[in-house]
């Protein structure tokens, strides 16, 4: 069994018209036993930047705390929030530093950059950045997510349509994966507001 299948996870991010959406499942398990159904995988770095971490839950939480620490230092020094592209470089450097003993997680970063242009990217566990213009996926359900997103995604969706698309892609993919699921957690971010929704999914 792969180390990433220890806890199970599914994270996906999509780009819309001047907005982005990032979604994850809510299950936390220990191999085949479920121990929580409200695990927070997506965290806010600042109002226009979110990071979703899939993989081993302990590294998810540790890495998140390290990144928030570095971002707070940046805010104190620069007196502004970090741009998403800069943040992606920071995460990549922190992960590559542990090249021979890596953090066992795969981040998905989503943010609104300058001129409210959405930015998404994902990385493998040693920081190889993969920038995409449409969608990025990560986690044990990633193969199903690739398929679902490839079929359902359309460019330039508005916030509500984007929410519907990403939720349907997430729920249909985690239904085919034993290790993730138990609901969904979706954030849709536009320049003016953050909409956070909890989805009703199959609880098995």
């Amino acid at each position: 069994m792969s180390i990433f299948e220890y806890n199970g996870s599914a994270v996906v991010a999509m780009v819309g018209k001047n907005c982005f959406a990032i979604a994850s499942d809510r299950r936390l398990g220990v191999q085949l036993q479920t121990i929580a159904t409200d695990f927070q995988r997506i965290s806010k770095i600042h109002d226009h930047l979110f990071i979703g971490l899939s993989g081993v839950a302990t590294d998810v939480q540790t890495l998140y705390q390290r990144l928030v620490f570095r971002h707070k230092l940046y805010q104190l020094r620069e007196e502004r929030d970090m741009k998403p592209e800069t943040f992606a470089c920071l995460v990549s450097a922190i992960l590559y530093e542990k090249r021979f003993g890596p953090y066992l997680c795969q981040p998905v970063i989503a943010g609104l950059g300058e001129d409210d242009k959405p930015f998404i990217c994902t990385m493998d566990s040693i920081g190889a950045k993969e920038l995409a213009k449409d969608f990025v996926v990560s986690g044990t359900a990633s193969e199903s997510l690739y398929g679902a997103c490839e079929a359902m995604y359309k460019p330039d969706l508005e916030a509500d349509e984007l929410f519907e698309t990403i939720s349907q892609a997430l729920l249909s993919s985690v239904d085919r994966d034993c290790l993730s699921g138990w609901g969904g957690h979706v954030y849709v971010v536009t320049p003016n507001e953050i909409k956070e929704r909890i989805l009703k999914g199959r609880m098995d």
Binding site: M1, S2, Y96, E97, R99, F100, G101, I126, A128
Partner: protein
């Protein structure tokens, strides 16, 4: 207070503090993670006026295509570019690092970078990690001494060649080069030959795919032709798109309005009336 490791920005280099824990997990039977590889076909050739580099654009994670349009031709200096095959994080990190070192060297010497400088910096780094930094590179550029093309293997050995291929599709591409390469090619002939070699890698090797990127470097000029050829367009795209019959059920919604920026207009102060 017991000694605590403060998480200040590190001085540089690799950190090995999670190795023991990861080894323990592997011994307990959990498999180590697989990294993003660039299966790849990368090529380079020297033509009459300079160097042409070419690469495909597929990044794989095991058997799955993770990125259909990634960039494998990395910038090193205004006159030097480097294609990378192998573990994606290693090729990106090593080319970024040497690119910064070259820039600092340019500031110090006041001269344009030479290809052989980049070559020595790369091979020293890769050899010191004994092949564990898995980056196979095709380095090409034009400097004051002329056009140069080198290949660098993950263990640190290098070759200097008039035409070179690396990656899983290297055999497919090399067959095209061996058949059709000749010295003194013109720019258009060179680009056509490189595109043909990359296409042969794209169509015959499963680890390479998608589009062809080309970079032409001549004395004092460079042209990065991103997605020069797209021989694999998405066919049968439905214009209607996907329509959902059932809407998603939402349990809870929380809307956080973001602060609108406040404009402060200075009003010329009027003395308070008493």
């Amino acid at each position: 207070m017991s000694q605590s490791t403060v998480d200040v920005p590190p001085k540089g280099g690799f950190s090995f503090d999670l190795c023991k824990r990861n080894d323990m997990l592997i011994q307990k039977g959990l498999k180590a993670p697989s990294f993003l590889k660039t299966g790849t076909t990368i090529v380079g050739l020297i033509f009459k006026d300079g160097v042409i580099l070419g690469a495909d654009t597929r990044a794989t994670e095991g058997p799955i295509v993770a990125d259909k349009n990634c960039e494998k031709i990395h910038y090193m200096a205004p006159n030097i570019y480097c294609c990378g095959a192998g573990t994606a994080a290693d090729t990106e990190a090593v080319t970024d690092m040497v690119s910064s070192q070259l820039r600092l060297h340019r500031y110090q010497t006041g001269r344009d970078s030479r290809v052989i400088t980049a070559l020595t910096l790369l091979k020293k780094h890769l050899f010191s990690y004994q092949g564990h930094v898995s980056a196979a590179l095709v380095l090409g550029g034009v400097d004051i001494t002329g056009p140069h093309l080198h290949t660098i293997y993950p263990h640190g050995s290098t070759d200097t060649l008039p035409f070179a291929t690396m990656g899983s599709g290297s055999l497919a591409a090399m067959s095209v080069f061996e058949a059709k390469y000749k010295e003194g090619l013109t720019r258009d002939e060179g680009i056509k030959l490189v595109a043909e070699a990359i296409c042969s890698g794209i169509f015959n090797d499963l680890g390479s795919g998608s589009n062809v990127d080309i970079c032409v470097i001549t004395k004092g000029n460079k042209e990065y032709l991103r997605n020069y050829m797209e021989p694999n367009p998405r066919t049968y795209v439905s214009s209607k798109g996907y329509s959902f019959t059932k809407k998603t059920e939402v349990l809870r919604t929380k809307i956080t309005p973001l602060m609108e920026r406040v404009e402060i207009t200075e009003v010329t102060g009027e003395a308070m009336e008493e």
